[in-house]
């Protein structure tokens, strides 16, 4: 299909790029723009590894077309830290042992961010419910929950 010129706003910066309309946001982020922190584990919307924030809400970038993401604020994991200055969730994930292989981590942290933005003091159940779409095979989710709870209680 014929390429279209689109403009994407990613982590506060504008990128002008020609894409075929059928290409997903995930493909464009990873292959064209080098945002490889966004991962693909299934490509069919089942695992949550490709989660990015669009206007602050979690979206599966593997099921989102690049062209429909125009005019919106896209946040990837690369946009969460400023240089070596980490987001509290990133710090907590490291400190609480919530990361093992790390392949689900980007999606997990971004989803956690949106959970906390919607509800700064969620219950354990609310956090787990919110993370239902993000699969992790390493941690059993225990340390992920601890890390998010630590941030939600205001730990920095």
């Amino acid at each position: 299909m014929k390429k279209r010129l689109i403009e994407l706003k990613i982590n506060g910066e504008y990128y002008e790029i020609a894409v075929e309309p059928q290409r997903t946001l995930l493909e464009v982020l990873r292959e064209d723009l080098g945002f490889t922190g966004t991962k693909e584990a299934c490509g069919t919307g089942e695992c949550g590894a490709c989660t990015v924030l669009i206007d602050g809400k979690p979206f599966l970038s593997c099921l989102t077309l690049a062209i429909e993401s125009q005019g919106k604020e896209i946040t990837t994991i690369e946009g969460l830290s400023k240089g070596n200055d980490l987001h509290p969730l990133q710090k907590a994930f490291i400190q609480y042992g919530a990361i093992q292989c790390g392949f689900c981590t980007s999606g997990m942290i971004l989803n956690a961010k949106s959970i906390l933005e919607e509800n700064p003091k969620p219950s354990r159940e609310e956090i787990l419910k919110g993370l239902e779409g993000n699969l992790c095979r390493c941690t059993g989710y225990n340390k992920i929950l601890e890390a998010i709870l630590a941030v939600s209680e205001g730990e920095k």
């Binding site: 069919t44 994991i77 990133q90 419910k129 059993g140």
Partner: protein, 776 residues
């Protein structure tokens, strides 16, 4: 006891920053200039002759750069096991016959994935279908279709036997005659799969110096190098497997896979980098899953519950090639004989070829399904004898100093303490058996226990590791290790050991790991010897570096080396802190006064030291390991008696872990294994029909998600200690704790419902059917 500063501390993982920020580069993230994409054509038939492969139309498709089939290869086979008895049996690309749906027939390299995929559709393959067989017991029958000839050493009139393990001690028949109670049961463990989040992926780049560079999602680069070099006919030093971050493996990425071979050969053919990333569907349909086994278990006990005789037959559905099937039937023997004393035992295991995809290790490599059988029957026996599940296990538990039939002995064992502590902490005896009294109640709770044991590094060739610790001019340290961090935290614990031995901080250490060209050899992260074998190699290297540092420091400070201590990159004379020299000064002094010695510590380690024999997979004879871990795990479940739905509420693991090098990482390992056990016991099953996989996505194959999270509790039973300058024996924590928990869940479900499930997983409908049967 000397105070430890780094070992035993919950230090956050060293690669946390890179992983939390998305900067960690996995194989799937690698892109090289001019890179081509590869795709693999797979067999649609479970068993067929290949009559002809016509690639001419595909070759003409614009954008296609190379196509390879079996004819383009050297025809060298590979296998998970490559021994004289069990030689390699699988071609990287099929030659004239395919034996499972998904077997690799051809591969294409093209300018992008779409073109490569289209090219696959243009390859014409003529097949002649052959009769196929999928069930292992059907495949053993004399009139079954032959997939491979039965192994020449197997004398039974069975077909399709890839390998057999047979061993005994004592007199099992006499043992049964002397027993008060003899039980015979048959259990079945299902086919489950790893579900590593990072798909199988490889980037290969053959350069003009004749070197093949490979980045691949694996469990250790050295095995990949050996098998790639052998199948491609290249010298080992011309195959450079680079380190990448690995997005999970759990046993599923150990030996050679066709996509690794194909990416490499396509790169050699085209002179360009080639990348292959498998789709999730491809992984479910064609890749190696775990091992389903059938366990026929006959056990004789004395009246007081003492195990007296056990006869075990294991049948493993190995798939179309040998894979790790012959290892599983060997290991099942070990998982039978380790946790309990059994004076009379007879074991036979068969690995049977079927027209299913090949099988691999999966976390526990046979132990979860095997321990499910043994521990379930243990509870059945206890109930018949009127003994509680804790007492019968305490009575039979292995103890320190006992000899094993193969000549190994149990150097240290905290199993009794594990059972006692886990029972105490969970109030097991108070809770057990109570649910069954609550007739008519909809939600019932149950409690169950499972016991298991696992080896920590095994004596198979070349299970060794070597390491180097280099001092830099400013006193910082570089560790070179072949060990690969696949998420378990290898680089972190190895850094802790270097920090402890040398007196530097974790931040002072740069780790160069898992690179076949620069780092010393390491067997890889797949045989539960990381902390023990690789750890000791690193410890030796670090203490060698310290010895050299202290030697020059002693000369500079006019002191004895044994009076020196190191801390914060400074070397002091004990009790007179004023007399000191920095690491940087010591390195400089060493270079100027020791003929340029920059201080490089070297170390190497192997389990069992210099025992020449490794165990025979067929007879089990020969030493196996000198380091066994033990555990007792308790599950607490709630069952909805109306729907059969089971919830795992609490999981408590008491483990003889030696000592934890990093408690935070140990907990993470246990959490992950509890979660895997939950899926294994309750939901996970790769469903197949006539060789075709029906569960091809995460929607069809349910693994635990966040809302299934289980409350986990840990009890460390410490049986070893870390001392400077001495080798240590810490135990594995990476794969032994799926098994006890699977068994514990099954036993807890029985405690809640009175329904004994002998075939995993425990689907709700099995509970409902069991309840119906009980009413009859």
């Amino acid at each position: 006891m000397e105070e430890l500063s780094f070992v035993g501390k919950s230090i956050p993982r060293k690669d946390g920053f890179e992983k939390a920020t998305g900067r960690a580069i996995y194989t799937v993230d690698i892109s090289l200039p001019g890179m081509l994409w590869g795709k693999i054509l797979r067999s649609p038939y479970p068993h067929a002759k290949i009559l002809n492969i016509d690639t001419s139309r595909a070759e003409k498709l614009p954008g296609v750069k190379a196509i390879i089939t079996g004819k383009d290869t050297l025809g060298i086979k590979h296998g998970f096991v490559e021994t004289p008895r069990y030689p390699p049996d699988q071609y990287p690309l099929a030659m004239d016959r395919v034996r499972y749906i998904g077997e690799e027939i051809a591969a294409v390299a093209a300018i992008d994935e779409y073109v490569a995929e289209e090219a696959l559709t243009l390859i014409k393959v003529d097949y002649e279908e052959l009769p196929a067989v999928f069930d292992p017991e059907e495949a053993m029958k004399p009139d079954a279709p032959e997939i491979h000839p039965t192994h020449p050493k197997v004398k039974e009139p069975y077909k399709n036997i890839g390998g057999k393990t047979e061993t005994f001690w004592g007199d099992v028949e006499k043992g049964f005659a002397e027993s008060y109670l003899v039980r015979e049961d048959r259990f079945e463990g299902q086919l489950r799969t790893h579900c590593y989040m990072e798909p199988q992926a490889t980037v290969a780049s053959f350069d003009y110096s004749g070197k093949l560079n490979v980045w691949t999602s694996s469990q250790g680069p050295f095995i990949k190098r050996a098998k790639l070099a052998t199948t491609l006919g290249l010298p080992f030093n011309n195959v450079h497997v680079h380190k990448t971050y690995v997005g999970g493996a759990y046993g599923g990425k150990v030996d050679l896979f066709s996509h690794e071979f194909c990416a490499s050969l396509l790169s050699i053919k085209t002179g360009k980098p080639v990348k292959i990333v498998c789709t999730r569907q491809e992984i479910f349909e064609a890749y190696r899953h775990g091992q389903p086994i059938i366990v026929e278990l006959k056990t004789g006990v004395k009246k007081d519950g003492t195990l007296h005789a056990q006869k075990v037959k294991v049948i493993n559905n190995a798939g179309a090639y040998r894979g790790s099937g012959v290892v599983v039937i060997f290991l099942c023997w070990g998982f039978i004989m380790l946790p309990y004393r059994i004076p009379n035992l007879k074991y036979e295991g068969y690995s049977v070829y079927t027209n299913n995809p090949v099988r691999a290790p999966q976390r526990g490599h046979g132990a979860p399904n095997l321990r499910f059988a043994v521990e379930s029957q243990m509870d059945m026996i206890a109930e018949e004898l009127g003994i509680d599940p804790i007492e019968i296990r305490l009575k039979n538990a292995r103890q320190k100093g006992e000899n094993l039939p193969n000549g190994d002995y149990v150097r240290n064992c905290g199993l009794i303490e594990c059972i006692e502590k886990v029972a105490q902490q969970t109030l097991f005896k108070e809770k057990y058996g109570k649910a069954r009294l609550k007739e008519g109640q909809r939600f019932r709770r149950g409690i169950g226990i499972g016991v298991s044991s696992y080896f920590s590094g095994s004596l198979i060739y070349p299970n060794s590791s070597a390491a180097m610790v280099k001092l830099n001019d400013d006193g910082t340290v570089t560790l070179l290790t072949g060990a690969l961090d696949i998420g378990q935290g290898a680089e972190t614990i190895l850094s802790q050991i270097v920090a402890e031995e040398l007196g530097v901080s974790i931040e002072d250490i740069r780790v160069v790991a898992a690179d076949t060209e620069t780092t010393p050899v390491d067997i890889g992260s797949w045989i539960s010897g990381g902390a023990y074998v690789s750890g000791n190699a690193v410890k030796m290297a670090a203490s060698d570096a310290r010895r050299q540092l202290f030697e020059i420091a002693a000369e500079e400070l006019e002191a004895n080396p044994e009076d020196l201590v190191a801390k914060n990159r400074e070397i002091y004379v004990k009790d007179s802190p004023g007399r000191s020299i920095s690491f940087s000064q010591a390195v400089s002094a060493s270079i100027t006064k020791k003929r340029g010695n920059p201080i490089i510590g070297k170390g190497h380690y192997r389990t069992m030291k210099d025992v020449p024999m490794h165990p025979s997979l067929a007879t089990t004879k020969g030493r196996w390991s000198d380091n066994y871990a033990f555990d007792a795990q308790v599950a607490e479940v709630e069952v909805d008696m109306k729907t059969g739905q089971i919830k795992l509420l609490k999981a408590t693991t008491a483990h003889d872990c030696g000592f934890p090098i990093n408690p935070l990482l140990v907990e993470g390992q246990i959490d992950g294994q509890v979660s895997m056990a939950q899926g294994h016991a309750l939901w996970e099953e790769v469903l197949m029909e006539n060789g075709k996989t029906l569960t091809t996505s995460f929607l069809d194959y349910k693994i635990p998600c966040a809302k299934d999270m289980v409350e986990t509790y840990y009890i460390d039973v410490i049986t070893e200690k870390y001392e400077k300058d001495k080798p240590y024996r810490t135990k594995e924590v990476g794969e032994g704790y799926v098994s006890g928990m699977v068994a514990a869940i099954a036993n807890a479900v029985y405690d809640a419902t009175g329904v004994r499930i002998k075939k995993l997983p425990i689907y709700p409908e099995k509970i409902l059917m069991g309840l119906k049967d009980k009413k009859r």
